[in-house]
């Protein structure tokens, strides 16, 4: 438990000193939304129904770009070997990395959601729907991405391969996420989509973290 929190503390400190590189996915998210709003004509009547889909797309695209780096530095400077020898257990390490990644890349997007809602003139109910669908689906997004990142950690330029590997498992999240955020207005959190998303997240945590640890273990050998 202590090992877990010290990995989280270390990575947050490194991110704080990195000069803001962790902000890149947030900037990508905002840029993508601004550009699509412009490309689609900037008319609120056309944009409003498309907003949930666009916001979900930009979320997934911005996250996909970040997984390649998730374990890369620790692998390249041999920190992973030392962690393996320390007896910490790589599952703990992967879990800590996922927590940090959530704080650095999902949390800022969630906090910026009201801003994104302004781009598309969304009401409170739609914004809340998006907020909850992203919140509930985010563990699955992170865990599946982490697994792909762990599999490709020793391939230079594995970015495109990572996208190919991750997109199929993210598709159900995209489908349920978009329709859940639309149906929130009528049904609130009782919409079946939210249950599906929660289920997917739980499966992803249970499968993704040990699988990532195993993948890292194999790349070390």
């Amino acid at each position: 438990m202590q090992g877990l929190s010290t990995v989280i503390k270390r990575d947050l400190l490194i991110a704080y000193r990195s000069g803001g590189t962790w902000l890149l996915s947030l900037i990508f998210f905002c840029l993508f939304l601004a550009l699509s709003a412009i490309a689609l004509g900037g008319d609120f009547a056309t944009l409003r129904p498309l907003a949930p889909a666009l916001i979900w797309l930009s979320l997934i695209l911005s996250l996909l770009l970040s997984f390649e780096q998730l374990f890369r530095t620790d692998k390249e400077d041999d920190t992973l070997s030392h962690l393996k020898l320390s007896g910490l257990g790589l599952s703990n390490y992967v879990f800590a990395k996922c927590c940090v990644h959530w704080v650095l890349s999902v949390l800022p997007l969630l906090l910026c959601l009201p801003l994104a809602a302004l781009f598309f003139d969304l009401g409170l109910a739609s914004t809340a729907g998006l907020f909850f669908s992203i919140l509930i689906a985010s563990p699955a997004l992170i865990c599946y991405g982490a697994f792909s990142g762990a599999c490709l950690v020793s391939y230079k330029g594995g970015g495109v391969l990572l996208v190919l590997l991750t997109v199929p498992v993210l598709l159900p999240l995209l489908i349920f996420g978009v329709s859940g955020s639309i149906r929130y207005a009528q049904l609130g959190l009782h919409a079946t989509e939210f249950q599906a998303l929660a289920g997917l997240s739980l499966i992803a945590i249970a499968v993704g973290i040990p699988a990532s640890a195993a993948a890292l273990n194999i790349t070390l050998e």
Binding site: T6, R17, H82, K84, S86, G87
Partner: protein
Amino acid sequence: MDDQQQNNTGLEIVNLGLQRGDTAILSGFNLSVTPGDMVWIKGSNGIGKTSFLKCCAGLLRAQEGNILWNGDNILKSSLGHAAYLGHLDAHKPDLTALENLQFWQTIYDSTKDINSCLKQVGLWKQKDQKAKTLSAGQSRRLSLARLLLSNAPLWILDEPAAVMDEKGKNLIQGLLNNHINANGCVLLASHGAPVRVGNHTRLLSFDAGDTHARA
């Protein structure tokens, strides 16, 4: 207590067969390293010293045979038997020397004092310097401090003196002496002239096709 005493057999390598690609490094190799032992490994470049050391640490899976630590297979996770010092220093460049060590202290669950480790390796003045500003030799000293922090009884060192000055080489010698005297084990690969440490130092020569240990 009796059980622990009985099982304190150190590192046992049984019938080890190790390959890298198509080249055989070792086959049918046996070696036992008991507490207080030091094995000095020599051999030309590319002969497989690093692969052998990684294998002993549990970072590499051998094709044949077993490596046991106090009777347990080292590939079992979370054994925590070995501290490894390889070619890479594994420091985070944006953290200070002290912060790097604090991280490893928690990971190792170590009760040893960081300040005294830093003083021992001669990095006390640089403790608040970021790791990226340390020289290659200083960075290696920081790795030695991490080695001191760990509770692992087996030290596996791969060319620790490669970037060290004369003082640094003496420092490593002193640390090895202390560790052996405290009943630790050391496996060391080095191109330097072998030095006897403690009562039981052996030289392991890696030659193509014929690897043997002698006292």
